[in-house]
Amino acid sequence: MEWRQMQSRKYDTSDQEMILNASAAQLQDLGFTIDETEGELGLLVASKERSAVNAGQVVGSIILAALTGAYVPTDHHQLFKASVVTRAFGENQESVVVRVTFQRIVWNDANQVSKIERINDEEMYLEFYSKLSKAIFLEDQQI
């Protein structure tokens, strides 16, 4: 339930296509490329690859290696995945509910998967929706 609240927003418009287009543009703003779309279902799947190097982790690994001679692999790159689902909402379908989910897979410098996780930091969802709301000139509402 908390998950759903964090990931969802409601917009007072019946124009689901406009919301989906704005979401696609938003994902492009964030540097995602769009992998799959299904207009009728209101679905967008996007991804992007970025560095996953974490200074603290690298420093820790170097110090450990210097002291013990054992090298601990550190995070190297990551794949972010985003899926946006939009659906008509309300008795007369007078609003649209948007739900976005972010996940990531992290590989270390030995090319092993070191993390597979759902991104559950509320800040990131807040930032996403604050940008989306600005783009469509509508206020988002918690559901």
Partner: protein
């Protein structure tokens, strides 16, 4: 030895490391400027013609098209040539008489933020459609 490690560690720290949020949201980028660099409008109302031209242009540039959706107006393609360049292009109707095309690309592990690759893409697209590309404010 330990001094050297400390120095090296500091260098890495100051080399700047983004948080996961910054990496997910590309928060360090100037998104307005980027959007302008990545967008052009064309004087046509035929969005499907624009999408077909986008696909042809991407193929001419050596991309392999991975997915396309005419309803949403999106095309995604990847070019592998000793590097991986992945690009999404969207075409949307703008007002009564124009279609805007927006492209964004990822080169290996980073977003493409330089204007040249987009200029080249739009120049090729413009030629393919026999239409002039206008910058969008």
């Amino acid at each position: 030895m330990l001094n050297r490690i400390a120095l090296f560690s500091l260098v890495i720290l100051f080399a700047g490391c983004e948080t996961t949020q910054e990496r997910l949201m590309d928060s360090n980028e100037n998104q307005m400027a980027l959007r302008q660099m990545q967008t052009r409008s064309f004087d046509t109302t035929d969005r499907k013609f624009v999408l077909v031209s986008v696909i042809n242009t991407l193929q001419d540039l050596g991309f392999v098209v991975e997915s396309a959706d005419v309803d949403l107006g999106t095309v995604t393609a990847t070019k592998l040539d000793g590097y991986a360049l992945k690009m999404t292009v969207t075409a949307r109707t703008r007002g009564e008489s124009q279609v805007t095309v927006r492209a964004n690309a990822q080169y290996g592990l980073r977003a493409v933020n330089e204007p040249e690759p987009y200029q080249n893409f739009f120049a090729a697209l413009s030629k393919a459609m026999f239409l002039e590309a206008h910058s969008v404010e």
